[in-house]
């Protein structure tokens, strides 16, 4: 499977009806593009200046490639997102964040509608992935509110064309740690004690948390 996030800062001048239309088109993506699985959107509540998250998945690189060439993608999503589109409602952001994701064998990230996500985007120092994985396991064992925890290498940012072919040399955040909680309050309260254990192994990190508005799965 391919797990994928699109994360955006919204233009403060964006008309509310256009934001609502983008929200609905992404939340309900499977109505239009059957390949899009587990689609959910959320508005970030942390102080990081990134506002909107669309999380979803694909069964395979082939299904992702069908999404990429689907007319709905170019007609509707690009309208809100591409820099040269007159109806763009997102902005470039200082975090160098847009599209991220990873490969997985099963949807271990899945949360029921109404749950909340805490998303940690990390730049790990070379060779630090295994030791940081132990830190995430410890954080999960310490916090009974954390109902899911997945750490994965962010392979998607450099392979967004088809999910396979590397088209960019590097990306700012090398890893994604997505945590699940039953409520937004629990996600917000989870804290970042892990930072003390990680030390210099984490070169850069930002955290977002949001309630999942899950879409159509029919």
């Amino acid at each position: 499977m391919l797990r994928r996030f699109e994360i955006y800062s919204l233009d403060p001048r964006a008309p509310p009806d256009k934001v609502a239309a983008m929200h609905a088109s992404m939340r309900n993506a499977r109505r239009y593009i059957p390949e899009v699985l587990h689609s959910a959107v959320g508005y970030n509540k942390s102080d990081v200046g990134l506002h909107f998250v669309w999380e979803h998945a694909y069964e395979s690189p082939e299904s992702y490639q069908r999404y990429m060439v689907h007319p709905f993608h170019a007609n509707i999503y690009d309208r809100y997102l591409l820099n040269d589109c007159p109806e763009r409602i997102v902005t470039d952001n200082a975090y160098d964040v847009g599209l991220l994701g990873y490969s997985c064998t099963a949807p271990s990230y899945f949360l029921p509608p109404g749950s909340a996500r805490r998303l940690v985007l990390l730049r790990l120092a070379e060779g630090q992935a295994d030791s940081f994985r132990a830190i995430t396991a410890e954080a999960e064992s310490r916090n009974p509110q954390m109902i899911s925890s997945v750490l994965a290498e962010n392979t998607f940012a450099t392979r967004w064309l088809d999910g396979v072919t590397k088209i960019l040399e590097s990306t700012t955040y090398t890893h994604i740690w997505e945590q699940g909680y039953a409520s937004l309050a629990a996600a917000a309260a989870a804290g970042s004690q892990w930072r003390a254990s990680a030390g210099a192994g984490v070169e850069k990190a930002i955290e977002l948390w949001y309630e999942l508005d899950a879409g159509y799965e029919g």
Binding site: V69, A74, R79, P86, E87
Partner: protein, 110 residues
């Protein structure tokens, strides 16, 4: 519906005083960038600047299908000059649209 070829119609609204500036930007930067990426320029037309309203500039592009456009999009999005062009164009625009059109049974070219 057969989704090929695709015609991408950009309609850019600008103040009349900016008409020549955006046309220059298109001619010198926007059109060459998109052509390098693989889009075919079909036409570029403008409304009159003498109507006491925003000028509309309509640029029509053509690509063989959405698979081709996906590769073209990758090429222009990874072209640093597209980012600077887009930033400059967005400052000139007051509005507009991008819409995809497809052949109909009465299209002149079939």
């Amino acid at each position: 519906m057969d989704h090929k070829p695709i015609y991408i119609v950009d309609t850019l609204a600008v103040k009349p005083a900016q008409q020549m500036e955006i046309l220059s930007l298109l001619r010198e930067e926007g059109i060459p960038i998109m052509q390098r990426a693989g889009l075919e320029l079909v036409g570029c037309y403008t409304t009159s600047p003498d109507l006491d309203e925003d000028v509309l500039i309509q640029v029509t592009w053509k690509a063989s299908d959405h698979s081709a456009f996906n590769v073209i999009r990758m090429k222009f999005v990874t072209d640093p000059s597209w980012w600077s062009y887009s930033a400059r164009a967005s400052k000139l625009r007051t509005g507009g649209t991008r819409r995809f059109f497809y052949p109909t049974p009465i299209s002149m070219s079939g």
